[in-house]
């Protein structure tokens, strides 16, 4: 299939999650909503169900969720609840609610109280000290709960073999996405920021084996192309999510390519694979233990500013000239990190801009001015 056809398919899927959910249900599959961050989707896949990513919405308006949420909850969490309350997600058979940040923790109870009668609400608390043996044990117990709940929904046990198979499918999918991110940099004339975002976003609304097959086909086509000689500027994006086509259009209008990303919704979720042998539950807990360089996770050596240096290095390695940070309104972890993040970027002489965003934004005039001016700054360096 041609690159254009494949890109169009990804675009359609990314833009129409509801259709994907309907199709999945029509095929007789159960579907499980998976909220951010780091839920072991492999278990859902192993249960023969479809994991369905819920990362807010760029088109919905916060309305009913106001009944449950304080205004200082980020829009990602509020809009996730909104879509559950307004019936958009009625077809789901359950949701997994991780509790990594101070918003998601109380939010998990809003999900439980508001949706508990309608669907299975599966609570997930990750360990803070994830790399220690007791952290791994705790994580395995938590994942064990999820497995049990899913087995209840399934009506039969999920075998260890099925989980190991799922791990292989997911590792393969992550590898394909990492490769795509690299190829998107080399072929940024073809894979524009909007297209790049759609390809990565589509992964949240598809069975991973189907997704990976399509992505590998795209990667193979991209590999045949000569590496592009990009005349515009290149940046690394950072933040929780930046999938709004209107916002990404500003990048395209100003000839800004995305060389790599430190975005939770994109590369931060695919950095680490799980071991493919041994006890599969332990493998999944180990995978979480190995996650690193993420502001959402506890870092015992945080005073060393390793994460910020890691991102600064990413900017250099990817050939980008600067970094655009999308700061989610009311996101405590990201805001708390910013001073040390900025310090590391300044020390590495990497220019950056911080854009305040939320999913209710409909006018991007100010962002457009800032991004255009940033492109001007980068092109004179």
């Amino acid at each position: 299939m041609s690159i254009e056809v494949l890109l169009n398919e990804f675009k359609e899927i990314a833009a129409n999650p509801a259709k994907q959910l309907n199709d999945c249900k029509a095929a007789g599959k159960k579907a499980i909503g998976v909220l951010p961050y780091f839920a072991p989707e492999e278990l859902v896949y192993a249960a023969g169900m479809m994991p369905f990513g819920i990362w807010g919405s760029n088109t919905k308006t916060i309305n009913r969720s106001k009944e449950y949420c304080a205004t200082f909850y980020c829009t990602i969490a509020q809009l996730a609840l909104e879509m559950l309350l307004d019936g958009t997600m009625d077809q789901l058979d359950g949701i997994i609610t991780p509790t990594i940040c101070d918003t998601l923790r109380p939010m998990s109870q809003n999900f439980r109280v508001s949706m508990g009668d309608k669907m299975k609400v599966i609570f997930l608390a990750h360990p803070q000290n994830r790399a220690k043996e007791y952290g791994i044990t705790f994580c395995m117990k938590q994942y064990g709960n999820i497995r049990k709940e899913l087995e209840e929904l399934k009506g039969s046990p999920i075998s260890d073999e099925a989980i190991l198979d799922a791990i292989k499918v997911y590792n393969k999918s992550r590898a394909a996405r990492r490769k795509f991110v690299k190829l998107a940099n080399e072929h940024c004339d073809v894979i524009t920021p909007i297209k790049r975002s759609a390809v990565l976003k589509a992964s949240y609304f598809m069975m991973k084996d189907v997704y990976t097959e399509k992505l590998e086909a795209l990667n193979a086509e991209l590999e045949k192309l000569p590496v592009c000689n990009w005349k515009g500027v290149k940046v690394v994006t950072s933040g929780i999510i930046c999938d709004n086509p209107k916002l990404l259009q500003i990048f395209e209008d100003n000839n800004i390519a995305i060389a790599a990303d430190d975005v939770a919704h994109e590369s931060r979720m695919i950095r680490v694979d799980a071991p493919e042998e041994g006890d599969p539950m332990r493998a999944l807990a180990q995978q979480f233990a190995m996650q690193d360089y993420d502001v959402l996770l506890y870092d015992p050596a945080s005073e060393q500013n390793r994460r910020a240096e890691f991102v600064a290095q990413m900017v250099k390695d990817s050939g980008a000239q600067g970094l655009v940070l999308f700061m989610q309104q009311f996101c405590d972890p990201e805001e708390m990190e910013y001073p040390s993040f900025k310090k590391a970027l300044d020390e590495a002489d990497i220019p950056h801009i911080k854009l305040g965003v939320d999913q209710q934004m409909r006018d991007f005039g100010q962002a457009s001015t800032a991004i255009q001016a940033f492109a001007d700054v980068l092109s004179t360096r």
Binding site: P351, G356, T369, A370, Q372, A373, D376, V377, T380
Partner: protein, 260 residues
């Protein structure tokens, strides 16, 4: 033959135009006090052409800038107002290193090296510290925006006004009025409130000589003075401060025209 270029700065509250001859001489300029989304930009261009006796076709290159730059599609190019303000300020003050531009709805601080912008900061969404803030306050106080500087200069007593939020500040002003505070003192307090807010943003970029202020609010000497006090630094302004963005745009247009 001379090269004429036009710069159009479509702001949130006003539209400004400048025609340059050979990238040096300002042939003509115009200003209409309506900005993007209104007939302001068209009227400003029409006025400019009429005054100058030139036609659009006489222009070698036309460049639009400002918040509403993308709303005019018949120009040769659009460019961010930050780059244009930097360019315009550099033309007027060749020693400039820092520019503070307070416009109708935002504040920008630019760092300039050898005429090129190398760093910048913009305010967040809130209107505190912007021209809009002054408009709102002038309305509450029932005075003209253009009289604020003169009235504020008569102040004899310091009054603190919140610098956090336009809505908070408005209710503070109303309660000051209710308490019978002198209008001049309140106005001076408002100028300091803006200065305080803008100074915070300026420190993020750093102040280096020369420090130039551009944009409409730079016409208000009360704000300029308050900002000088906050920053402990002399601020230069130009008599054509409102046109700096449009001037920068026509300077860039000249560069482009030469390359054409």
């Amino acid at each position: 033959m001379s090269i004429y270029t036009m710069g159009i700065d479509v702001g949130s509250t006003s539209s400004k135009c400048v025609i340059l001859k050979d990238g040096q001489e300002i042939v003509c300029k115009s200003l209409v006090a309506s900005g993007t989304g209104t007939s302001g930009p068209d009227r400003a261009v029409a006025e400019l052409l009429e005054k100058s006796g030139l036609k659009k076709e006489d222009m070698s290159y036309i460049l639009a800038t400002g918040y509403g730059r993308n709303s005019i599609d018949w120009v040769d190019q659009q460019m961010s107002e930050l780059s244009c303000h930097a360019r315009g300020a550099y033309h007027l003050f060749p020693e400039v290193h820092t520019v503070i531009d307070i416009g109708g709805q935002d504040v920008k601080v630019l760092q300039i090296e050898n005429g090129a912008m190398v760093n910048f900061q913009m305010n967040d969404k809130c209107a505190a510290g912007t021209g809009r803030f002054l408009d709102v306050m002038a309305r509450v106080l029932e005075v003209n925006v253009s009289d604020l500087a003169e009235l504020g200069a008569k102040s004899t007593k310091k009054i603190g006004i919140s610098s956090t939020c336009t809505v908070f500040a408005e209710s503070e002003v109303i309660s000051q009025l209710a308490q019978g505070s002198d209008k001049c003192d309140i106005i001076n307090g408002i100028h300091h409130s803006i200065a305080n807010r803008v100074a915070g943003l300026t420190h993020r970029v750093g102040v280096r000589d020369q420090l130039v202020m551009t944009g409409g609010v730079a016409q208000n000497s009360g704000v300029v003075k308050a900002l000088e006090e906050e920053l402990g630094h002399t601020i230069l302004t130009s008599p054509i401060t409102q046109y700096v963005g449009a001037l920068g745009a026509s300077l860039f247009a000249y560069q482009k025209a030469l390359k054409k």
